[in-house]
């Protein structure tokens, strides 16, 4: 068994809500007095779960609570969780930008964050000077930078401009140069937060490739945060699932992603009836959209070729059904906002049933390529649009041997997975 690279013990992080500082010098002094007398901070409260959706009178929020895990050297670990689950806080503590409230983290080797590229770049300095500046901020010594200097310049493709101040660089060159330095840092532990990722799609892809190479070939430890389950599944072997600041899953990436999918149900059950980014006259109002597999289990993760049932519930005034043509549509868009499918009741030339409060769209086999898909809901009659909401929900499609041959399809190079045979 290989060595442990990161060991996290009883880690908690508390944030103060509202204004920072207790606001008054009196309570600051109170806290100070309590501390030097070795007493518990009088302003401290514990045992409060971080759930942003509920309003609270508590002064503090636990962004992380009692987290324990170990990461083996050379593992690529995906950190999964909804927004606000504590992923970024965890990374901030591991990269020593902030410190925990309790508990500890022990690590072996140098830690670096791949996507914080170009930190410390000074516009007045030349490319050459900035390579040294940026490199030393990230903890490289002058000698190290010198020995890798030519490689870095080569990789960046900025050789001609290396003695020009970076303020004259195009933004593309700026990013390339910055990334080139990060890519040659060779830390033992690499942190990649896709949530914070900047740059265009190509650049992000470059980062992911680099990360893949780093973990596979160089045996380095990688921590990867992303909302893209497909990317996490391809890049990581293990996963950690956070929810409301607590660790609820730790194991193989497949198990953790599945656990995440099950947990997602919670969020799918939240009502959309109080969304207000909607257009229309309001004669019909969408209340909810839910996704089920054909066994009737609610989920938002599907494999290519699986069946999907979309349950759209609504409330409608009688006036809506007075019209002759009533229709409900679902638009499906990919992550780049290209329309990939359109499901409409009008195809079947049926009007919406006035007695029901839910309409079910059943897709027998979903053949969209892997990725995230967003849904729009649209309802209309002859009088015009009744309700139209963009991006009400999304599902994630995963690829899992659709053809049954063990062959894989390349990611991001296809929009749909179609049936075919060879003769």
């Amino acid at each position: 068994m290989s060595e442990i690279a990161i060991q996290v013990e009883n880690l908690s992080k508390r944030y103060r809500l509202g204004s920072s500082g207790t606001g008054t010098i009196v309570s600051d002094v109170n806290r100070f007095v309590a501390r030097i007398r070795g007493k518990e901070d009088p302003t401290k409260k514990i045992g409060f779960v971080n759930d942003r959706t509920k309003k609270t009178n508590e002064e503090f929020v636990w962004s992380l609570q009692d987290i324990n895990f170990k990461i083996q050297q050379g593992d690529a670990v995906g950190i999964i969780g909804k927004n606000g689950a504590g992923k970024s806080t965890l990374l901030k503590i591991i990269s020593r930008i902030t410190s925990p409230t309790t508990g500890q983290v022990k690590m072996r080797g140098r830690v670096a964050s791949l996507l914080e590229v170009g930190t410390g770049f000074h516009p007045e300095l030349t490319g050459r000077e900035n390579i040294f500046m940026n490199g030393s901020i990230m903890g490289m010594t002058r000698q190290e930078i010198k020995s890798k200097f030519d490689e870095i310049v080569d990789f960046s493709g900025c050789e001609r401009y290396i003695d020009t101040p970076v303020k004259r660089y195009s933004s593309g060159m700026h990013v390339r140069l910055a990334f080139a330095v990060s890519a040659h840092l060779e830390p033992e532990i690499l942190i990649v937060d896709e949530v914070l990722a900047v740059g265009d799609a190509e650049f992000q892809k470059k980062c992911l490739n680099k990360m893949d190479q780093v973990s596979r070939n160089d045996g380095r430890t990688v921590l990867f945060v992303s909302h893209n389950m497909t990317a996490i599944k391809t890049l990581c072997k293990k996963g950690i699932l956070l929810k409301n600041g607590m660790l609820i899953g730790d194991g193989s990436i497949d198990d953790v992603v599945n656990l995440y999918a099950e947990n997602e149900i919670d969020s799918l059950q939240t009502s959309i009836s109080d969304l207000n980014n909607r257009q229309g006259n309001g004669l019909l109002r969408f209340v909810d959209i839910k996704f089920y597999d054909l066994k009737g289990k609610p989920t938002s993760h599907f494999f290519v070729g699986e069946g999907v049932e979309i349950h759209v519930s609504y409330e409608a005034d009688d006036a809506f059904f007075m019209s002759t043509k009533t229709t409900i549509d679902i638009d499906i868009n990919d992550s780049l906002n290209n329309r990939v499918a359109w499901l409409s009741s009008s195809i079947y030339k049926k009007n919406i049933d006035a007695d029901k409060k839910v309409i079910v769209f059943q897709v027998e086999k979903i053949r969209l390529a892997q990725g995230d898909y967003n849904f729009n809901l649209y309802a209309a009659n002859d009088l015009g649009i009744a309700d139209w909401i963009m991006n009400v929900s999304r599902i994630n499609i995963l690829y899992n041997d659709y053809y049954g041959t063990g062959g894989k399809v390349p990611e991001k190079q296809l929009a749909m997975v179609t049936d075919f045979s060879l003769r």
């Binding site: 503590i93 410190s99 925990p100 309790t102 983290v105 830690v111 007045e124 901020i137």
Partner: protein
């Protein structure tokens, strides 16, 4: 874990007040060097006069002092040439005030870098102290040139004495004082921004509570002298002037007091800075 010593990085909630991690700072010495270089290069890029600005600023200040305090107000310079008298004070005061002000902005000015990447935060104030030392050095050369010119061509016979041997110590105290006070203020401005305004207008005023534009010997009221000597910069400047002009007396107690206060402020500053640097991102 069987071998605790094998861990490279420990992250814990609270450090001891005096967990210095100087070794950590030493590991980042190349970064200190880069910061100093960056400050030096970036400061006068795209200026016509470039590093000459290092000289123009104290010269013009000195000329203004000569006109306002020397000619108009007619303050004593203890019989020394006015330009040398004022410049000797400006030299030290400039270093102290600019370094102190810059360090007191450490956290607010570097939030961007600090929020992204870890390095020992003490690297920043240390690099400020060093890069200000460069301009101090250049200005010192200017002073020596003018001093020599006066020696050769004017009727000027200063009593340079062995006090000059204290010069490195004076510089050391001055640097330590500015870093100590700077990091205290920088740590406290995170919570109390008021200090920032206080410092920005307070430091220039503090100059008048330091014998820069007048010699300590021109003060007759013993209460005033006592108050002036409470200012740790007083001992430094008076000692310097004593050693090159031979004016006044070598008041070793005042210098000891300056050194003592400096050490206290430095220790206090490092303790507070240590405490604050770990969590400042949460309260900035």
């Amino acid at each position: 874990m069987k071998d605790k010593g094998k861990w490279d990085i420990y992250i814990q909630p609270k450090s001891n007040w005096f967990e210095l991690r100087l070794l950590d700072v030493w590991k980042y010495r190349d970064l200190i060097f880069m910061f100093v270089k960056r400050d030096f290069i970036a400061q006068y890029k795209q200026t016509i006069l470039g590093p000459i600005w290092f000289l123009i600023q104290p010269l013009i200040t000195t000329i203004v002092f000569i006109v306002v305090f020397g000619k108009i107000a007619g303050l004593s310079t203890d019989g020394q040439p006015q330009i040398l008298f004022y410049l000797s004070g400006v030299l030290f005061w400039n270093y102290f005030s600019s370094t102190f002000l810059k360090i007191s902005e450490t956290f607010l000015a570097n939030t961007n870098i600090f929020s992204k990447i870890y390095f020992p935060r003490l690297v920043v104030p240390i690099s400020v102290v060093l890069s200000s030392m460069i301009s101090f050095g250049i200005q010192l050369i200017l002073f020596v040139i003018i001093f020599t010119y006066y020696l050769i061509s004017k009727d000027f016979y200063p009593a340079i004495n062995s006090g000059i041997l204290l010069f490195p110590i004076l510089v050391l105290i001055m640097a330590a004082l500015s870093i100590g006070m700077g990091i205290i203020i920088s740590s406290m401005t995170i919570k109390y921004r008021d200090l920032r305004y206080l410092v920005t207008f307070g430091v220039p005023l503090l100059m008048y509570a330091t014998p820069i534009v007048y010699p300590l010997s021109s003060i007759k009221d013993p209460t005033f002298i006592f108050l002036l000597k409470l200012n740790p910069m007083t001992g430094i400047i008076e000692t310097f002037r004593y050693s090159i002009f031979g004016i006044g007396v070598l008041d070793i107690y005042t210098l000891f007091y300056s050194a003592f206060i400096t050490i206290i402020l430095l220790i206090l500053g490092i303790a507070i800075f240590n405490k604050v640097e770990k969590n400042f991102m949460d309260s900035i």
